[in-house]
């Protein structure tokens, strides 16, 4: 028998009450391998105004390219200190920030490898269902052959790739732009 999936509703403006207990802006536990990165950015609405009531969730593989999930049957090591989940709200000026490790590559469709990336969900008042996007890493030669990036109009791919910041090595900038010429690429997962 087939049931109809429950329909989505907005998180509204008051999600902090329900979500704060699981805020995680540092994904790195004890004895975790991999290159540490800080990802920070801002969320902007259609007027270019910062969004103070958005929340991002992060899902990623560990430095070996292994997800902590039973469906990942790759022969790669898990690390007890790395679960791969993060959750960060934006501040009053629309800023979010989290610390993690750069994941290893994971398999993609047709046996092609995917470039290292983070899977991101974006929730906020005004969004009746979540937005799904990805963060890729700058100066990674694997981006050029990534099977998902290659589905995106070349002129828009840069919205998915974090940028190095001149001021702080190890800190990458990645913004979520909801509308306009610089609009971030969001993916259709049938939500």
């Amino acid at each position: 028998m087939s049931l109809q999936p429950t329909t989505s509703q907005t998180v509204g403006p008051f999600f902090k009450i329900g979500f704060e207990w699981l805020y995680r802006d540092n994904l790195i536990g004890e004895a975790v391998s991999g290159e540490h990165v800080t990802i920070q950015g801002r969320v902007f609405d259609g007027d270019g105004a910062p969004v103070p009531d958005a929340i991002l969730e992060i899902w990623q593989a560990n430095a070996h390219g292994k997800y902590d999930h039973p469906e990942d049957t790759q022969n790669k090591p898990l690390e007890a200190g790395f679960k791969g989940y993060g959750r960060v709200p934006t501040s009053a000026d629309g800023v979010f920030r989290f610390v993690t490790i750069k994941p290893g590559p994971v398999p993609g469709p047709n046996g092609k490898e995917q470039a290292p990336h983070l899977a991101i969900s974006v929730f906020m008042r005004g969004l009746l269902k979540r937005l799904v996007t990805r963060v890729y890493f700058p100066d990674d030669s694997r981006n050029a052959s990534d099977p998902i990036l290659n589905l995106v109009d070349p002129g828009r791919r840069a919205t998915l790739i974090a940028k190095k910041t001149a001021a702080t090595p190890g800190t990458l900038e990645w913004n979520v732009v909801l509308q306009g010429p610089e609009e971030t690429v969001f993916f259709d997962l049938g939500l």
Partner: protein, 235 residues
């Protein structure tokens, strides 16, 4: 690595469009460019899991978070989490949050001049059992005004957030109460075009879980996306 089985696409009208102008906040926040379709990969069919110990039994009783009892009508909200193939989803985290009985959230930006209740925070968590069941004890939230349009009021609701087994099953929704006269006028409740699907956001009054001389029971089942049991065969 074997092929990744996709999750099913929703039937037309059973999930909201991102742009729903009667909900004014969607106008400047819904993306304007088409979403880019991608195949399911390991990144989308895996997802976070949590040590069940992260949620204490006390976390599912919102009436016991403080030294005194909150004001309002005590209720029990329970149900099951299943996928669309009717399989129970065990060991998954559910988060809820809500206004107090007067229609006020314990949140800095809630400016409604209804009183806060020192004995009510309005947040809870539960983990589903082996049969996908969950149960919360709380108080019935009040309706409250908002500024979407003139004399706008939200129907009484409880926010639900659930993870399920994968990144692709993550769901945030709202539960409503039967008979609430505000539902026909609430643009958030009405954002889903399909009426039957929308009406499944309304909990049902439930004698089975109603406790004598204690609390009324409401039942609310959550259905997460599922996958085709066999690869699609031209149907």
């Amino acid at each position: 690595m074997k092929r990744v089985a996709p999750y099913r696409a929703p039937h037309p009208g059973t999930q909201p469009n991102l742009l729903h102008p009667p909900y004014v906040s969607s106008i400047k926040r819904a993306p304007t460019k088409p979403l880019v379709a991608i195949p399911y990969t390991l990144s989308e069919v895996t997802g976070p899991s949590f040590d069940p110990g992260i949620v204490t039994p006390k976390a599912s009783d919102l009436t016991r978070a403080h030294s005194g009892a909150p004001l309002g009508e005590r209720i029990i909200v329970s149900g099951r989490v299943l996928d669309e193939n009717s399989r129970p989803i065990p060991n998954t985290v559910i988060e809820i949050w809500q206004a107090n009985a007067a229609g006020r959230y314990r949140h800095d930006i809630d400016q409604h001049n209804a009183p806060l209740d020192p004995n009510f925070t309005g947040s809870g968590q539960a983990v589903t059992d082996a049969a996908g069941r969950y149960r919360f004890v709380t108080i019935r939230p009040g309706e409250y005004p908002w500024r979407n349009h003139y004399n706008a009021w939200r129907a009484a609701h409880i926010h639900f957030s659930i993870f399920g087994p994968a990144f692709s099953t993550r769901l945030v929704t709202q539960m409503y109460f039967p008979g609430d006269p505000l539902m026909p006028f609430d643009p958030i409740f009405n954002c889903t075009a399909d009426e039957k699907t929308r009406n499944r956001l309304i909990s049902t009054f439930d004698w089975e879980t109603t406790m004598p001389e204690h609390a009324l029971g409401y039942r609310f089942d959550l259905i997460l996306r599922g996958r085709d049991a066999t690869p699609m065969e031209g149907k």
